[in-house]
Amino acid sequence: MTAVQEQAASEIGRDRRRKEDMRLITGRTRWTDNITLPGMLHLAMVRSPFAHATITSIDTSEAKDATNVVAVLTGADLGEAQGACINAWAITEDQVTPPHLPMPTDRVAFAGEIVAVVVARSAAEARDAAELVDVEYDDLPAALDLKEAAEDTVLAHPDLGTNKSAFWKFDSAEAGTGGDVDAAIEKARGDGIVIEREYRQQRLIPAFMEPRSVVVDPTGEQITVWSATQIPHILRFALAATTGVPESKIRVIAPDVGGGFGGKLQQTPEEMIAFAVGRRLGKPVKYTETRSESLLSAHHGRDQWQKLTLCAEKDGTVTGLKVDLLADLGAYVSLVGGGVPVLGAFMFNAIYKFPAYQFNCQTVLTNKTWTDAYRGAGRPEATFAIERLMDELAAELGEDPLEVRRRNWITHEEFPFTTVAGLEYDSGNYELATDRAMEMFGYDELRAEQQRRRDAGDPVQLGIGVSTFTEMCGLAPSRVLGQLNYGAGGWEHASVRMLATGKVEVVTGASAHGQGHETAFSQIVADRLGVPFEDVEVLHGDTQSSHKGLDTYGSRSLVVGGEALVRATDKVVEKAKQLAAHLLEASAEDLEFAGGRFGVKGTDAGITMPELASAMFAAHDYPEGMEPSLDAEATYDPINFNYPHGTHLCAVEVDTETGQVQLRKYACCDDIGTIINPLIVAGQVHGGLVQGIAQALWEEAVYDESGTLVSGSFTDYLLPTAADTISFDVDHTTTPSLTNTLGTKGVGEAGTIASTPAVVNAVVDAVRHLGIDDITMPCTPERVWKAIQGVAAGGTTEGASMPHFDGDEAGTHSTEGAGA
């Protein structure tokens, strides 16, 4: 463990405006779709309208004859050159993994799957010709409902003989990290409390701002691929591994990327097809998806059923937790795929000292869009489950939900703490964060108001929801990933280049797509080298300049990538010190380094970092036995995960006449350790909160009974805007992480993980006195109102979309199933 350094930090902690924002906001930058190469061709995809069907024939002749069409290709035409979409994480050795071709040749397994690609001189001509491709299908029964699919009644892939992909289990008694949960439950049934619940994690769509886009240029010695991706390095590996093109012949560039939220943590069929077509035709090609295609076929997130059993003593001390999950993989086991629920496996016990724990997860194949990481990936699901249960336990006891939590959480004196799931939490102070959050929230006053409204029978009831979350982030120690059978490591790489003019180039293997790495990393380097913030340039997202990296996801960039950067920077300082001692004719021990200058103690003599960089560039005079370079690099493999935590409090008003939920107040105090840039942190927290609140109240990917995505546009997939949210009260406590030099913890996913249960707890709390103990997400006004009427509060969302854009105004219509 490295001690937290104390230093006069002039940049760290400063709320610098993001240096990348001007170009990102004005769009004067290189998004993938802005790239236009000489002779570039455009692709349009032909997608299956059926969830599950045999492809009986594909007639491309008419499309081939269309104006300016260069080629129309199917999976059969491309053959092995199309490569494959990989699953990097078989969670069990016997995981059932259907082969995943970018364009299947015989059978489609979800509506939206690509069956042919049209190549034309313009995007419009490609789109026009795509309509002329005549594909005949034989409809097959589709496995759509997750629970039914788990029964294998209808098979998503008939050849596999089952929909059950993998069963993953953790048991604290077997692992030696805790007791036997079944025994604990048995005992509680006799003399304690047993809370049994089933919760639905609805399917969500990441809905990043920039639709995915890919450009492939095969005309150089290296094939260059620009992609709107979070993972240029992993993509290059996957392209090479599945097409046979040597990795050294592929250069992948993620230029400026407009958001991802995990949704661009993928190796996509579209990328593979563009790569194959570019190679085949020897011409640059571009594919940019439409928003409809993005919602339909970019991977979805969440989609679980959670069966939960929490047992406790009569006083509310929890004695065990058992989790049985069904997780919908969709049609294929995607890049991380079944690993997403496994990432949650270690987090159901959250901040609590549960003595016994068991986690069982069955991953299931269905004929829907495949699922994968979405902001929080596994951890929001886990946090939701446990934080909902803790509120239920409190209700059972008739106690305040924060009291029950206090009784069960790890106190700050108890760190480092090894949890029942086997993780070592290095630091934290739940008491402090909770006290601060309660103060900001005005907890007692709001409770009093709630009571008044209940007593008065006010049609608008007030509810208060609590979520005291922690998460594991900073993915990830490579050895741990190895034990979990993940296909790669979790290290990160950084290098620092000292330019002749004293400017600094920093290369990181993390791949920013909106997070503000350029600013935060510049702040870190500026402080450590003592150079101006403006003099630091951060390069990323290009495998040519950043040859080594594992990209950006899982709140890893700062805590893993930042630590690699710290170490590389410190090596530069070490080298610079040798050079300084040589030039100043002093011994290294007599030098002190401050503000970017090495001074000889007790004298005026000194030399600055830029001067040293210039001197080393000239290399006229440097120490014997030293290479003439101050540059340095570092690869850092984290020794542990990182455990941010926080207390989130939400108040909602529920209009009992309509079921409408209105946010009233939201206060949170997150402990994310040392903060590099408060402004960036505020942005991450705000955005994260809104995304988590949206799961609670608004967003859901809904399919109809034939497997068509009904919420296939933003008319029906309800993303909130600023008009739907309120001002958040955000604050922080600072318990530095002990596992990295700067004491930082991840913040990218915190808001999303914490907020969903806070909101749902608040909604349920508002109407609990009416006999309600659950409302399925999203808590739509209809669901809330029906719960109040005593009708089932949950179930699945069904029904048609709203047909506002109708193709044929004069035609005949029915309100249901119009689906336009």
């Binding site: 419009a124 008319t715 805007t721 006004p781 969302t797 979309s801 709203m802 047909p803 193709g807 309100t815």
Partner: protein, 284 residues
């Protein structure tokens, strides 16, 4: 999101536009603000060969005072309806409804006439126009005709405008001094209404002398809640009286069931929203 290719015509008079429509028949589509038509084209739900843009016909734009009525040109933008002083004075209900329509961008492109011609039962301007007894001026090759609001909305996306015809003006009788309120129920702000209620009332000395109530998205067309109107007449503008009248809101309605709610829920919402809309309009 690239529409199929089409020819584009931009006539500068209604006659020219009608001639273009007559020439191209079924192959042509009229373009107003494009806020409904363009998504349709871009999603490739329709692919007309000719698009006839009304945007350059000056005579179709603007609000004018015509004695006992206001006349609103079909091409008047939502944003202009929203801020027009005549509308505020004599047909406040329209402004109230337009205020909640989509977002500022859509309101600066979309038109009053385009929205009415589109006849989306979830559209925000249909129910107010119906409740206020608007008259629709429709021009065709044989001249112009006037259609009463009750006859204008035929079905989902279907109006009395026949092929080859244009909606040119909408006449709204003056409701000077009436209270008005539009109660729109949505899950997120930029959404079409799940249900909305448009209410205009004339209150005399605490009594509701007259009431006009229209329902949005409670059937395949905008609806008039006539039972509510009748029940309100002569009643005091109190919560109790209005609640009793509003209980009739869903009578004769046939709302859709979709992602945002089933028909039962919408029927219930209609009664709650009607009560709220009428009370707000009455200033109670």
């Amino acid at each position: 999101m690239i529409p199929a290719a089409f020819d584009y015509l931009a006539p500068t008079s209604v006659d020219e536009a009608l001639a273009a429509l007559a020439e191209h028949g079924d192959d042509a589509k009229v373009l107003a603000g494009g806020q409904s038509l363009l998504p349709v084209l871009r999603l490739r739900l329709n692919a007309p060969e000719v698009v006839v843009d009304l945007g350059r016909i000056e005579s179709l734009r603007g609000v004018r005072d015509d004695g006992d009525a206001l006349v609103i040109g079909a091409m008047t933008k939502h944003a202009d309806v929203l801020t027009d002083p005549l509308v505020a004075e004599h047909a406040a209900l329209l402004a109230r409804a337009t205020h909640h329509l989509a977002d500022a961008q859509v309101r600066h492109r979309g038109t009053f006439g385009g929205a009415l011609a589109h006849a989306d039962p979830a559209g925000d301007v249909g129910a107010p126009a119906l409740a206020l007894g608007a008259e629709f001026t429709i021009a065709g090759s044989g001249g112009t005709r006037s259609v009463a609001a009750d006859d204008f909305f035929v079905d989902l996306f279907e109006t009395a405008i026949a092929d080859g015809e244009l909606l040119t003006e909408i006449r709204i009788p003056k409701y000077t001094g009436w209270g008005a309120h539009y109660e729109k129920f949505v899950r997120v702000a930029h959404q079409w209404p799940i249900v909305a209620v448009a209410a205009a009332v004339r209150v005399e000395g605490g009594t509701i002398a007259e009431a006009r109530v229209g329902l949005t998205n409670m059937g395949s067309t905008p609806l008039r809640a006539r039972a509510v109107e009748a029940a309100l007449q002569g009643q005091p503008a109190t919560d109790e009286a209005v609640r009793a009248a509003a209980a009739h809101a869903a009578e004769g309605a046939n709302p859709p069931s979709d992602l945002n709610g089933d028909a039962d829920y919408r029927n219930h919402l209609a009664t709650v929203l009607t009560r709220r809309a009428v009370l707000a309009a009455a200033g109670a």
